[in-house]
């Protein structure tokens, strides 16, 4: 085979234009290596990337990539140390090394330039929200359209009381770190306060222990604000299970046994949403649902009496409390949405004529 080597070397070529540079917009410890693929790339098995420090001559294998790929990110380097690289193409019968790359030094950046669009939007949004809350503080009245699901809360609690049945509040299977769960808890507080005024019982089965603790405090606060702390029963807010369908089975069982007059399905839901909603319908309860899980919204809309769609859940706290500061943030949200709509329409028109100004500026990640 030795006599074939000169012929193989003649037929195959090594990678060229090997460049090494600090990986941009990162926290350091990484160098990116790029190269031009040889013409015979389709016959290559892989590319091995070797790292050299200027103090040593022997290279260390930093990693490998498959054929067709001409970039590699070496994440095993130290900041401030000079490195050089060679890329070796492995063919079935031979291995060919490139020339050395330029010297590269890894360092951390203080700002990720790829997120500049996100930063601009966040700052702009923050200013808009701040402006509207200032206007709200000055006493400017804010109009919010009627949200049927939230208007029906009092009707649902009242109906439950008339029937002498408890209210079931299902906060979904989200964790306390989900914004949707926090929105659900703010609705729970209003429901609990209303229930206390009507001397009704609120049952809250929980998927997560931390949410259970927060729900207990929330319901207690609701009952206290209504002046009926004596009616609060901690045992009605309990942990059920952290298994999705175990939770659905448990809540369904509760619905069949307790036969609540009103059921609130508020929070993060996945496949168990329809199971809960249909069972609730079968016991004849009035159901008010709300979720930001877009895949479950159609099921809730079909199976429950009222549905809070997506951001209506987030607006619930402001809507029910009528707090001017919170209502101000809702107005700010609406203005941002309008700006987005105008930007999208402008972007579509520009893209139709081949002008990529807006789409280029918004390429974030």
């Amino acid at each position: 085979m030795g006599f074939l080597l000169p012929i193989l070397l003649f037929l195959y070529s090594p990678p060229e234009n090997v460049k090494a540079f600090d990986t941009p917009d990162d926290g350091g410890g990484s160098i990116t290596v790029t190269w031009t693929l040889p013409q015979e790339d389709s016959e290559a098995i892989r590319y091995d990337i070797y790292r050299y420090t200027s103090a040593t001559d022997s290279g260390i294998l930093a990693g490998s990539v498959l054929r067709g790929i001409n970039t590699f990110q070496d994440i095993g380097v130290k900041d401030g140390v000079e490195y050089r690289y060679k890329v070796a193409v492995v063919y079935p019968d031979t291995v060919l090394f490139s020339a050395f790359s330029s010297v590269a030094v890894a360092k951390a950046q203080w700002f990720n330039k790829k997120t500049k669009a996100a930063l601009f939007i966040l700052l702009f949004y923050g200013i808009v929200l701040f402006w509207f809350t200032e206007e709200a503080k000055k006493g400017r009245r804010t109009y919010i359209r009627k949200i049927a699901g939230l208007e029906a809360v009092e009707e649902a609690v009242g109906r439950s009381t008339e029937l002498g049945k408890p209210i079931l509040f299902v906060p979904g299977i989200g964790l306390i770190s989900d914004i949707t769960t926090i929105a659900a808890l703010s609705i729970l507080k209003r429901v609990a306060k209303k229930a206390a005024e009507y001397e009704s019982r609120v049952i809250v089965p929980n998927f997560d222990p931390i949410v259970m603790v927060a729900a207990q405090e929330t319901v207690k606060e609701g009952y206290t604000e209504a002046g009926r702390p004596d009616l609060y029963n901690e045992k009605d807010i309990f942990f059920l299970t952290s298994d999705q369908f175990g939770y659905a089975a448990g809540v369904d069982g509760m619905m069949m046994r307790e036969k609540p007059g009103a059921i609130f399905l508020q929070g993060t839901f996945y496949a168990e949403a329809l199971i809960l909603a249909e069972t609730g319908h079968s016991v004849g309860a009035i159901q008010i649902s709300g979720t930001t899980s877009v895949t479950q919204l159609p099921f809730f809309i079909a199976a429950t009496d009222y549905t809070l769609i997506g951001e209506e859940m987030y607006a619930a706290s402001a809507y029910l409390s009528k707090d001017p500061l919170m209502l101000g943030t809702i107005k700010g949200e609406d203005l941002m949405k309008l700006i987005f709509i105008v930007t999208i329409i402008a972007g579509v028109i520009l893209e139709t004529f081949g002008i990529h100004l807006i789409s280029n500026w918004f390429s974030i990640f």
Partner: protein, 261 residues
């Protein structure tokens, strides 16, 4: 102070994590991962709280012989059987309960847990049918559009759907024509003319609709899923994201306090 300290912690943590999104340099770049790790550790300990609540709640029901106490007895018995069986594999057989040779995996997981979960999920098939039957009524233009789109996608996404859909839609058009002609016969003047025209249009559309669905239903279903469905979903997502940012800012700045005592 009971409220102020949590609000302060929320503010500092929230601001730091927002800043960390834009600054990759240490220590900011690692913050998100660090906080996630802390959340997992804290979450593990709070499971003890949850178990305490679960067992006490059900023990109370058994003690007072409340309605459905037998289910609570089953729950507590199942809890302890699972716990000791799983631990037993480790202590007596010196292997993980999920090892392929473990009795826990073979008997409990494969023959109890998996069928139970699959059964709960399979309820969806029945509930979707009853929910669709009850909710999909052509009350107005919007609901008719919803109903038609659902039918096209349901039939376009299954094998042989392309052969069945033309017949169903043709039948619907015949029913519509019957309805328009019947209404037309009960009215007079311009209204009668309109109904008659609609009836004739329904009949005229039978063949074109039949042909289009027979040959292009898959493309129509794909178009509905890729274009209008996706557009609506993106619109809802944008709204949810904006609402989420506003809600997060309210929580960070302490305007939203309902989750605190």
């Amino acid at each position: 102070m009971k409220r102020e300290i949590p609000l302060f912690i929320t503010f500092i943590t929230g601001v730091l994590l927002v800043i960390a999104l834009f600054i990759p340099h240490k220590p900011f770049g690692q913050l998100q991962q660090t906080f996630n790790d802390w959340l997992i550790i804290v979450g593990g300990f709070t499971m003890i709280l949850g178990l305490d609540s679960l067992l006490l709640h059900n023990w109370e029901k058994i003690k007072r012989k409340k309605e459905g106490w037998i289910s609570s007895a089953f729950l507590i018995a199942s809890f302890f059987i699972t716990l000791f069986w799983g631990f037993g594999e480790g202590i007596f057989a010196h292997r993980s309960p999920f090892d392929p040779s473990a009795t826990f995996l073979r008997y409990f997981y494969t023959y109890v847990f998996v069928p139970l979960q699959a059964t709960m999920f399979s309820l969806l098939a029945f509930f979707i049918a009853s929910a669709a039957y009850r909710a999909f009524r052509a009350k107005d233009g919007n609901s008719t559009l919803l109903l038609s789109a659902a039918a096209l996608v349901m039939l376009g996404r299954v094998p042989e759907g392309q052969k069945v859909a033309p017949w169903i839609f043709a039948f619907v058009l015949i029913l519509l024509a019957y309805y328009f002609f019947k209404e037309g016969s009960r009215t007079s003047g311009t209204q009668k003319t309109v109904y008659m025209v609609l009836g004739v249009l329904s009949i005229a559309l039978i063949y074109p609709v039949f042909y289009i669905l027979l040959h292009y239903l898959n493309y129509i279903a794909d178009w509905i899923m890729n274009i209008p469905q996706m557009a609506a979903k993106r619109g809802i997502w944008i709204g949810i994201s904006l609402g989420g940012i506003a809600m997060s800012l309210r929580i960070i700045l302490g305007v939203e306090k309902t989750y605190l005592q």
